[in-house]
């Protein structure tokens, strides 16, 4: 029983298996590359202040993949999540500080829920090792609690629908290098947690369909919000949220059907690797384009299209492989909801395509910044781009399922292209739409619902303070009035005639009582 007791430093264990090697590769690559990029792009004065937060986040972000027991997983998870506060608040503008405050609150909540889930699993499993945790929960009443807690906690991390505003908030303010790291790596930790901790194959049937529905809703909802938002990075934030919705769908597949676990986890990992690299490339690209001018800028714009297309899922791209793995995982399930979701998956591609077009237009429309310092680390961006394209071929075969050979059969080719075409057609039509509709395009501020919630909380806080002050004054003069009343009654009571009459009355009363 004492091993349930966290054994301090001695208890932290790390181990590597197939899932963690892939994630470590992704996280290490993204964190290090973005770090170098940030080193070059951030002015030297701010560099120290940035890396005070960047380094612990990077260490946590990379180590979390290898954590093998609940305590070390929670430590690395916290080590990565909390310093991100500093990255977001780095520009020290009022908006960034407020966004960082929102992020810190949501992270604190997600940390708390994760801890609760870990403790529940640890008591059930009578031990701390991650592998033991997941299997022990199966079939027990706490499985329901654990799954809800995990989905809530990780939902906040990967931007599931009600909280999908958190990703644009995270990406909008930090320096571009840091934002790329966040986009590429930190959101994927949620996916890692889904694979590591979510009870697989033991949940009742209803859970899978419910989570799938949430995943789909996020995929479509985030896409709609993304199209309507204002800045390129916010669009990328919403696109991450919608892609993570698909990851959630993939994870849901593993919940209640044991046979689908392998496929589902494969899909999650594939999706994470693909999305991490593509989103990182896009984020860096956005900054590179902003820095370049003239002919170099047009070349960069063209290059930017590559990760965008891969996201949409064009054949031979990592997006295509990931989407295919997702389809296989969902297809393996039976029942009305999985079939419907399976049918919907291609339509999510339209959403992503629309987001990419919106992103593209915003980047192009953004005015050229004045001449920035000479050496812009485009070479780093080039490396990120090539890796994001080539990765699909070099990552371990088990994540590809049978994606490669099916790339060339016409049916799957067509199912990958038509969504992109419809999106382009839609965008073209919308250009001529009435002004009122077009104005709608800029209506959603990044992090939409969270800002309103934050304002509401501040209002309540002001109200509470005012009410406490008023009660203090009224009690003071109440005391004074009571004192005067006391003194005057005493003066009357002590007067001679009154007192002596009272005494006589007392004597008579005693006589009456005793002779009764």
């Amino acid at each position: 029983m004492t091993e349930i007791l966290p054994a301090g430093i001695g208890g932290l264990t790390f181990a590597l298996d197939d899932v963690s090697t892939s994630f470590i590769a992704l996280f290490a690559f993204v964190w290090i590359l973005s770090g170098v990029y940030a080193w070059f792009t951030v002015p030297t004065g701010d560099r120290a202040r940035l890396f005070v937060y960047y380094l612990p986040a990077a260490i946590g972000g990379i180590a979390v993949a290898a954590a093998a027991d609940a305590v070390s997983f929670y430590l690395c998870f916290a080590l990565m999540a909390i310093p991100i506060w500093g990255l977001i608040a780095h520009p020290r503008t009022h908006a960034s500080r407020r966004a960082a405050a929102i992020y810190l609150t949501l992270t604190a909540v997600s940390e708390a829920l994760l801890l609760a889930a870990l403790v529940l699993m640890a008591t059930e499993a009578d031990g701390l090792a991650l592998t033991a945790l997941r299997s022990a929960v199966g079939g027990t009443p706490t499985a329901g609690y654990v799954t809800t807690l995990l989905l809530l906690s990780l939902g906040l991390k990967i931007g599931t629908l009600p909280a999908s505003g958190i990703l644009p908030v995270m990406y909008a303010h930090g320096p571009s290098g840091a934002a790329a790291a966040l986009a590429g790596a930190s959101t994927k930790v949620g996916a890692l947690a889904l694979v590591r901790l979510l009870p697989a194959g033991v949940m009742p049937e209803g859970w899978t369909s419910a989570v799938m529905v949430i995943g789909c809703a996020t995929a479509f909802g985030a896409a709609v919000l993304g199209v309507l938002t204002t800045t390129p990075r916010a669009v990328l934030g919403y696109s991450s949220a919608s892609q993570m919705g698909l990851v959630l769908v993939a994870a849901a597949a593993s919940l209640s059907t044991p046979e689908a676990i392998g496929l589902a986890h494969g899909a999650v990992v594939a999706f994470s690797l693909h999305h991490g690299l593509a989103k990182g490339a896009l984020m860096l690209g956005d900054d590179v384009v902003a820095r370049l001018s003239g002919r170099a800028r047009t070349v960069a714009l063209a290059a930017l299209a590559v990760p965008a297309i891969s996201l949409v899922g064009v054949p031979l791209s990592s997006g295509f492989v990931a989407k295919y793995a997702l389809k296989d995982a969902v297809h393996a399930l039976h029942g009305p909801v999985p079939e419907a979701v399976y049918a919907l998956i291609p339509f999510t591609a339209i959403g992503t395509a629309a987001l990419m077009i919106r992103f593209y237009l915003l980047v192009r429309r953004r005015p050229q910044q004045p001449a920035t310092p000479a050496r812009t680390p485009t070479v780093l961006w080039a490396v990120m781009l090539t890796v994001s394209v080539v990765a699909v071929w070099i990552w371990p075969a088990q994540w590809n399922t049978h994606a490669i050979e099916s790339a060339f059969d016409v049916g799957s080719m067509w199912s990958a292209i038509w969504p992109a075409l419809t999106a382009i057609a839609g965008a073209y039509i919308l250009r001529f739409a009435p002004a009122r509709v077009r104005r709608l395009a800029g209506s959603v501020p990044p992090g939409d619902v969270l800002h309103t919630a934050a304002r509401w909380v501040r209002g309540l806080d002001g109200l509470l303070g005012a009410s406490r002050r008023s009660t203090r004054e009224s009690s003071k003069d109440g005391r004074r009035r009571m004192r005067d009343l006391l003194m005057s009654t005493e003066r009357r009571l002590v007067a001679w005639t009154a007192a002596t009459t009272l005494f006589v009355a007392l004597a008579i009363l005693l006589i009456l009582l005793s002779t009764r």
Binding site: M487, E490, R491, V494, A495, W496, T497, T500, T501
Partner: protein, 104 residues
């Protein structure tokens, strides 16, 4: 209705007049007189209701009355001295009823 009961009731009457005097009369001298009245009333009761031992009169009530008189005289002397001193110091002859010291 034997005769000694008259003394008892008479004593009680005088006692109650004395009590009324003590309570109601504001003038301090009246209070001293009232105290003596109460004393006499009690002594009458003591003698009147004393224990009847056939033939020989019971000595105890007599002793009590004597001591009572002595004590009452002592009280009256002290009372008069204080009233006189109080009059010379403050010129008041009554206890103005609001105790001055518990001011707000």
């Amino acid at each position: 209705m034997n005769h000694y009961l008259v003394y008892g009731l008479g004593g009680a009457l005088i006692f109650s007049i004395g009590v009324y005097g003590m309570l109601a009369r504001p003038h301090l001298l009246h209070k001293v007189v009232a105290a003596n009245l109460m004393g006499s009333g009690v002594f009458l009761i003591l003698i009147g209701l004393g224990n009847r031992v056939q033939g020989r009169p019971d000595p105890v009530p007599q002793a009590m009355v004597l001591t009572g008189i002595v004590v009452t005289v002592a009280l009256t002397a002290l009372g008069l001295a204080i009233v006189k001193r109080y009059y010379t110091v403050t010129g008041l002859t009554t206890l103005d009823d609001d105790p001055p010291e518990t001011d707000a």
